[in-house]
Symmetry: C2
Subunit: 555 residues, 2 copies
């Protein structure tokens, strides 16, 4: 009897939406040969991670086990699936497999980080498979809001796993392969042990809508616009960008792409062959010589990103172009939760300019890239797996998806990041917990989310920062008065004297009272100074700042 | 011919949703007698105002003209209309008028800030009016998501203005007076110069729904729940709290109110007579002896506020109560844009406990308190004003509302905070701009949003903070090595040496090279130290921190 087992271990993406990284393994316990599916990022925010440039899954476990890693597969080119490839490849070292368009993007990611582009191998879709250790992995085309999204057919001696990646069931996706239920049924026919499945839209109870449905509506809107039209969507939604551009073209408008990501994505789509036709585009320079009513701008920044083209246009100018009263601005996009304030800030700026803003509130100009609940059910019906492992979702999504699966008579389990499942038997079993978390990229340095650095930043932001300098002579006697600097604090408090004067006076009195033992001991002295300063600030300005004490001894 | 004029000046609430404060004046230019309508707050957020306790409108203009202020009217008890009353009354000094329930809340606000409660006068609704200088002001009942919301009928020699306050057209509001179209028509009959009107829901194109529609749905949900039920809504939505409590009562459950605001609101509603019946409540202590399936908790914190009862229950415990697998948690509320992440954090925590969460995504368990677009049109049809001045909205709302009004053949204008309108003629005219803005309450100190204090906090949060201490002797020679402390920065950079060591070494070299003129001049020295430190940090950790330089001279 074999003791080999098939394991599944999410390191990112399960219990959150973002930074996907899923490990599969097969072999004897603790010596399983491994593959990694996706290596994505999450974006920072001011509330939890101020000043952080990117957030990665904590890959320590996999780095420690890199000698067991056979391959990395990337399902599609969204940042939350591909964004960390260049940042971790050096420490993981395995070949990276993806289909043509995704591989094109992955090579950009590698080059950006000074990594070898030839580590990225282009694979063809199913029935081609890649053998890696005990696994044989095929890429099964599936529709999503980016071209060439691929589900993975992961075969091992323990059976077949289908890892959906991000998907919707779109039979008219505009760009890229349509969902092919017959192909999927044929792949599933011989039996599927586990369906590891996208959970994003499990709470959306209505039927999913095809990408093809937005085209006619966008065309009507653009055709009726009297002045310039600008539209934004995720640059990676090549189908949507094409739909927008064609709507402009049919309305007799020249198309101008604005924002680096928009140009890069269209280039990658053309280079890799997923986009065979796209209206001719004009450069921003040439666009300035075209009458505004004959122009359509396709711009980055649908999520309100401050440095993207949309935000720049809303603030006044981007690449020499400006918006004016009577222009139309279309958000052909959904605002991701958390980005509302930034997006509304832009809408209000556009409103101040007199620009007419149309967003997705009508439901006409955007469709989701993820399978809604009825399509998740249909997917289970087609694949007919023994078990369903929900992934790509917050806890609430995973739980709902597991409940849905169990209601359909299939074994399921909520497995968040770090939960290793044994899939060998008839039902998924939690076999161990691996320490995971988040790694922050901050400038050029990586550190753990819990290292305290960001905690200190948040504290300074909430409480302000006071710095005290105390100088002592050879006999541990204060040399002059203590010196206080403040940052992020009111310069004047309740006594109407400068805050630093009040703090220095109170500290001076403290030093005058302090005994020899306190003055001779850096820790005791710092502790006393900190306490006095915080209390003094509390009575002056009603809050206790963060305090840094510098004790200098002249010796 | 009189040169008296009627003016309107929003100091807060126009161009934003929050901190409402609207001034009306009548008299000769520059000597108009004034009344203030509402005096509210906005809440801070980490992105724009970290560490700030409350945000007020900048009341400087009105404080400078306090001798012209006749009265303050409060339309209703929501924080964005009443929250700043206690904080500014001392500087404004005018009597505060409100109806009974609102006055009850206003007195709490005054007491909380050590202000005299008797400055708050209770008024009866229309046809009673209050004379204040050239104005006569009546309070016309209108429905909203809090009891006793009142529109103001503001009469002056230049004609009648109706200031709606926040409203919806609800003829079955559960608690408080129903919207009475006949009464409104009678008030409008003699002619209305201007309708100054809530714009919040101008983009909601469907008909508004009555508060009474949610009761039956909530009842069904609560009746079907097998274990404990907890529900949250805005505490001030007394009608909803009553509906929830009665649903619990009918299902044989004891009701327990959790969270200070919930108890205070129900008390105020009972004291002021707006709530004549409410199910008996049990204390949290007694609730612990009641079987869970016979219990319903009504809790504060529908917006995910970290310190409220909902967040505490989600983290584990509040007042001795805990939630368990199989319990039901109902968000009978809408998430205000910007609060999504906080609310979803809680939903995920509840999901981890196995609690079933129901929110408003079905549209069954919550209705808005603001008039949707068709009701805004109906309001105009009933009041038939010469002009419509949109208020209570971001720029996009005001602009859309002005367009709607103009399409209906009425004069309108977008007037954001600080825009003084002359309403004397047939159309509103912008007559001057007054400097306005935001005032932050931070601990016990108030300061302007643009004073740089919060900017410095945000910079420390984004960039970290480095402090350098340089000590020089009587001859301007460095005494010892420069000393660096860091906060919110990685302790180790690209060279794998401690960051402070690298920074100190580079600074030491700089001081060694520095000429006499630099060493003798605090500004030059600080500037040089700052530059060297930022460049050194850039190469070590890829970012430039905020820098505080302390130069100490032994003399």
């Amino acid at each position: 009897m074999s003791t080999d087992r098939l394991i599944y271990l999410p390191l990112g993406g399960a219990g959150e939406i973002g930074m996907n990284a899923y490990v599969y393994g097969y072999g004897p316990q603790g010596r399983e040969r491994l593959i990694l599916v996706d290596l994505g990022v999450t974006f920072s925010d001011m509330e939890t991670s101020p000043g952080v440039d990117l957030i990665f899954p904590d890959m320590s476990w996999l780095i420690e086990n890199k000698d067991r890693l056979e391959a990395i597969f990337i399902t599609h080119g969204h940042e939350d699936h591909i964004g960390a490839v260049g940042h971790f490849w050096e420490k993981l070292g395995a070949p990276i497999y993806a289909r043509s368009f995704t591989a094109n993007l992955a090579r950009h990611k590698m080059r950006d980080q000074g990594q070898p582009e030839d580590a990225v191998k282009t694979v063809s879709p199913w029935p081609e498979v890649t053998d890696c250790g005990p696994f044989s992995v095929g890429v099964l085309p599936i529709s999503h809001s980016i071209p060439e999204s691929g589900a993975l057919v992961i075969d091992s001696p323990a059976g077949r796993v289908i890892h959906t990646g991000d998907f919707k069931l779109d039979e008219t996706p505009v760009v890229g392969e349509a969902f092919d239920p017959a192909l999927w049924a044929s792949v599933a026919k011989s039996g599927v042990k586990a369906l590891v499945c996208d959970s994003t839209n499990v709470f959306s109870r209505h039927d999913g809508r095809s990408e093809a449905t937005v085209g006619p509506e966008i065309e009507k809107l653009v055709a009726a616009a009297p002045q310039m039209v600008a539209a934004t969507t995720f640059a990676s939604n090549v189908a949507r960008v094409k739909t927008l551009a064609e709507a402009g073209q049919r309305a007799g408008r020249s198309i101008c792409l604005m924002g680096r990501a928009m140009r890069r994505m269209i280039e990658a789509a053309v280079e890799s062959g997923v986009l065979d036709s796209f209206p001719t585009v004009v450069s921003p320079e040439d666009a300035q010589n075209i009458p505004r009513e004959n122009l359509m701008l396709l711009v980055t920044g649908s999520q309100g990103e401050r440095r993207a083209a949309t935000a720049q246009l809303a603030r006044g100018k981007h690449n020499g172009m400006t918006l004016k009263e009577g222009d139309l601005f279309l958000f052909s996009s959904k605002t991701i939760p958390g980005n509302e304030k930034g997006v509304f800030r832009i809408v209000n700026q556009l409103s101040e300019m007199g620009v007419d803003v149309v967003d997705d509130s009508s439901g006409l100009y955007h469709v989701s890239g993820h399978a809604n609940r009825p399509d998740l059910e249909r997917m289970q019906d087609i694949v007919n797996p023994e078990m369903v492992i929900p992934m790509h979702g917050e806890h609430r999504h995973l739980r709902e998806h597991a409940k849905l699966s169990e209601a359909k008579g299939r074994a399921s389990v909520v497995a968040v990041n770090g939960t290793m499942l044994d899939l060998t038997g008839k039902t998924p079993k939690v076999t161990e917990y691996v320490e995971t978390g988040r790694t922050y990229l901050d400038g050029s340095v990586k550190y753990g989310a819990l290292d305290g650095i960001v905690r200190d930043r948040i504290r300074m932001a909430l409480n302000g920062h006071a710095i005290v300098n105390v100088i002592l002579d050879e006999d541990d006697e204060p040399l002059g008065e203590p010196w206080v600097e403040i940052m992020g604090l009111s310069e004047q408090g309740n006594s109407f004297a400068p805050l630093v004067d009040v703090l220095e006076e109170d500290l001076s009195q403290f030093l005058g009272r302090a005994g020899e033992k306190t003055l001779a001991d850096d820790d005791k002295l710092s502790e006393g100074v900190r306490r006095v300063l915080r209390n003094s600030a509390m009575s002056e300005i009603g809050k206790k700042p963060e305090v840094t004490v510098i004790v200098s001894r002249m010796s």
